[in-house]
């Protein structure tokens, strides 16, 4: 009886092992390249997020994985935080630029989003995400529906949830990073 099972299923088993091996080989060949693509995508944004930065490297600050932006001499000019959270349609992946002392936001970039085209996906437009530039990090940024005042960002009409999601993710990661920095500097 047992032998009967093997006789029936041997092709599936052999193919499973064969395909598994082939895929492992492909991953071995391409895995590095794929993770380099992801890293390059992130690092290519650093000069836009922290102006004047010449180079950047991954860094650990109090257990958080961030990117340190440097000038030619290797001095820290600022930080780029990878951050993510739920949006309206799917997960949002953001990059947040901060100055060296994490007191001001110097830029925001949307790395990955699947928000509604024409409405929510306008969060990727420079004119909207540019509003975050220059905001203070000692208090939370507030989302408003009218002309924004100090430390305020105006929501996109028809995409309040996408706008709110970005604002929430920024506020949370910046707060976490400031806490991590305080911890590291103790």
């Amino acid at each position: 009886m047992r032998l009967q099972y093997i006789k029936e299923a041997w092709l599936v088993l052999v193919l499973g092992v064969f395909f598994g091996g082939a895929l492992a080989g492909v991953h071995y060949q391409l895995g590095d390249r794929i993770s380099r693509n992801k890293l390059a995508d992130t690092l290519s944004q650093v000069p836009m997020l922290v102006s004047g930065s010449a180079d950047s490297e991954p860094a650990q600050v109090g257990g958080m994985l961030v990117y340190r932006a440097m000038d030619e001499a290797g001095q820290t000019l600022g930080w780029v935080l990878p951050a993510g959270g739920p949006g309206f349609a799917d997960r949002l992946e953001l990059l947040i630029g901060l100055d060296a002392r994490a007191e001001k936001i110097t830029g925001l970039y949307v790395l990955d989003q699947k928000e509604t085209p024409g409405l929510g996906n306008r969060i990727v437009e420079q004119i909207w995400r540019g509003q975050f530039k220059g905001t203070q990090t000692d208090r939370a940024i507030k989302l408003v529906k009218t002309a924004p005042g100090e430390n305020q960002v105006q929501a996109i009409t028809g995409a309040t949830i996408s706008s709110q999601s970005v604002t929430d993710i920024v506020n949370r990661s910046v707060r976490d990073f400031r806490a991590a920095m305080d911890e590291a500097n103790k």
Binding site: L11, V12, L15, L30, I34, D41
Partner: protein
Amino acid sequence: MNNANGPTGLERFINGILPENPTYRQVLGMCPTLAVTAGMAPAMTMAGAVMFVLICANIMISIIRPLLKPHLRILVFTLTIAAFVTLADRFLAAYMYEMSKQLGPYVPLIIVNCIIICRCEVCASKQSVRAAAADALGQSFGFALGLASIATVREILGSGCWFGLRVLPDAWPGWVVMILPPGAFLTLGLLMGAVNWIAQARKASPA
């Protein structure tokens, strides 16, 4: 080469393009047809990935067809398709990273694309490697044609572009609905209606 048990390779190839077009005649593979046709570039990348998987799977299944057990065949098809899809997905992530980001989950979803499993069942598991390869080629061209027709309408009306190049004047407002999911359904429905109408008109008029 004659196959006693089915159409020849050439017939299979020609059938796949129009007479048995996967999109308009078999109505298979609707998920990518609706999801990635907002622009020509993602649609053609999807068509390329499906072509790769379909050809590899059809050839592989045709080679091992004497070993297939009737009750385990679907399992073997799925296993084979999944392996080639993962290969295509990793390849896109490594060499076409931007496109891979844009297509998102739709590349892994080729695994459940009914066109491929249908071709394995109908053709590759019964016919020679040559017929199976010709069948895969014909069906992939048919699928590419289906995607291209829908993507052309949606991209031109929705953003005034074709393959990202502007074809309509800047004054064109861009119908957002064409880029959104409803645009996919509208376009597919209207085009399928047109195809049926032409087919019936041709049948009615004496050839």
